[in-house]
């Protein structure tokens, strides 16, 4: 049974060697579990980064080609991974230059049309009430 772990601090070595064997076992098991968790998280992050990189590569190449063909192009990509939420907008238009994604581009529901429709319905009802 090891009496020390590689931790970078002498305090940890000293503490571990002073502990009884059962406590040392528990600590080592916890340490190993932590290391496995970190490793799993690193693998997940790598997969997410690779997927994001591939997606952005496709967006970039299509945007460049479409612009070269003489189009006005705006391309956007939104992705939420284990690391972060990434919002990207590319192109040769003013919208792309401003760098602000619309709600439909971000995937959020745009309530503005609903508010406008409710407002129109309310106006019609009010006009009917006062018209009588």
């Amino acid at each position: 049974m090891p009496t020390s772990v590689v931790s970078g601090t002498t305090t940890a070595f000293e503490m571990l060697s002073m502990l009884p064997e059962n406590q040392r076992n528990a600590l080592l098991a916890e340490h190993a579990k932590g290391m496995l968790d970190i490793s799993r998280k690193a693998i997940e992050m790598n997969v997410d980064v690779a997927a994001l990189s591939a997606a952005l590569g496709t967006v970039a190449s299509i945007t460049v080609q479409a612009a070269k063909d003489g189009n006005s192009v705006t391309a956007s990509h939104v992705q939420t991974t284990s690391i972060a939420r990434t919002e990207v907008i590319m192109g040769n238009t003013d919208a792309a230059r401003l760098g602000k994604l619309t709600k439909s581009q971000t995937g959020e529901f745009n309530w503005t049309p609903i508010y406008i429709i409710i407002g129109i319905i309310a106006l019609v009802i009010i006009a009917n009430v006062f018209g009588k």
């Binding site: 496709t58 967006v59 299509i62 080609q65 479409a66 192009v73 391309a75």
Partner: protein, 99 residues
């Protein structure tokens, strides 16, 4: 002179749009040769957009493209949007125009 706007998305059937354009060209009194040139110009522009749009949509990206095509007897505005980036108003308009 044919002046028209063609709205496309990644599920557009190019043949349907071509037939629609042919009818519009006929109404605008374009000759057969001019119509063929117009259709050829349209297909060469629209096909890569639809292919790119499909690829973009499959990975959850959005693509919006506008292009103005001018030729003998026609001015055409092409507006391409991937289906997932269409606003509620655009979707409602699409329902009425059967797109």
């Amino acid at each position: 002179m044919l002046t028209t706007t063609v709205r496309l998305h990644d599920e557009t059937e190019i043949e349907v749009e071509c037939n629609s354009l042919r009818q519009k060209a006929k109404k605008s009194h374009l000759s057969d040769v001019e119509t063929d040139i117009l259709i050829d110009h349209f297909v060469k522009t629209a096909m890569p957009l639809i292919a790119s749009g499909r690829l973009m949509r499959s990975q959850g990206s959005n693509l919006n493209v506008t292009r103005s095509l001018k030729g003998l007897g026609y001015v055409m505005q092409i507006e391409f949007t991937t289906r997932n980036s269409r606003s509620l108003f655009a979707r409602l308009a699409g329902l009425f125009s059967n797109r």
